[in-house]
Symmetry: C2
Subunit: 184 residues, 2 copies
């Protein structure tokens, strides 16, 4: 399966439209700890490795996720491997022992909405970055990615999205910190 994903800049108006039109699924808080590879520059290879701590309705879940390089020029489509983890500290210790280094932690509040079978919309309020909207569809390896991207893009445009963004929150936050001259 491939995750076709499109992200755009949002505002209160767009958030409200989504809340009115689509079926609310859940609200989650994410704490994402991003890691650097011991000998590969993920910012150049366009990969990512993170531990996500997810909180919702008093539940707690954690995942280790690898994201491969993007597969096309329009969307955020990429290989993704995600495994549930039971002990965040042990995994953090394991990654550090193998030479992976913590880069940054990103905190966001996420609302998820059902659009149609296989398609979801996500409203993200990211600490330090603001409001974003994402639309996502899981497709089979042999389906036409480009066509799917067009359809998803149309849905976001109808909601009022004007500016799209292929960069990850990690990239955007790193850029912002760089601009502000902050030490990471």
């Amino acid at each position: 399966m491939i995750e076709v994903e499109l992200k755009g800049y949002a505002n209160d108006k767009i958030f409200e439209k989504v809340r009115e039109r689509f079926k609310f699924m859940r609200k989650e808080t994410h704490e994402d700890i991003y890691y650097q590879h011991p000998c590969r520059d993920f910012s150049k290879t366009d990969e990512a490795l993170r531990i996500r701590i997810k909180r919702f309705n008093g539940h707690f879940e954690a995942f280790l996720t690898y994201k491969g390089p993007k597969l096309d020029n329009m969307s955020k489509t990429r290989k993704e491997i995600e495994v549930p983890i039971s002990d965040v500290d042990a995994y953090s210790d394991l990654l550090t022992s193998l030479g992976f280094k913590e880069v940054l932690t990103i905190v966001k509040v996420r609302e998820k909405y059902y659009v149609e079978k296989g398609v979801t919309i996500t409203l993200d309020e990211v600490e330090g970055l603001g409001k974003f909207i994402e639309i996502e569809k899981l497709i089979k390896d042999n389906e036409n990615i480009e066509e799917e991207v067009k359809k998803l893009r149309k849905i976001l445009e109808v909601l009022g999205v004007k500016k799209f963004e292929r960069k990850s929150y990690l990239e955007l936050l790193l850029e912002k910190l760089k601009k502000n001259g902050s030490e990471i």
Copy 2:
């Protein structure tokens, strides 16, 4: 916690003595898939990373284990981080995507015996290497490792062990394959 561990070469006679004297705990089959680090030579840094698939009494369990460099010159004492994994294929895919490479798979039948509180003896029949005995004790970080090693060594000597071995099964098997001129 630190795992103090001592390993020696065994034979049928030593196996029989252990079976008579100590309380049988369980019998397991291990399939250990060892990985190479993408940019660190584990054979030089004395580390290891493996996926262990454990089968016993019709059960199936899998773990991802990191072993750090040995901490002293006498025993196999080292830092160990072990996490249970639910999906071997996903983890194998994850490690491969991060640049880790499969080196070798080691298969063994292991019998475990209870010696006294915190101390266990293990009888290993390793495919391609033969019979080994291991004694293991988990101690706190501030306990005297050297003293503990001496005590454990004595127990193995009384059972008839003459030759000790600090090398891992992975190292021994790699050496054997090298001697035989086999391609790995």
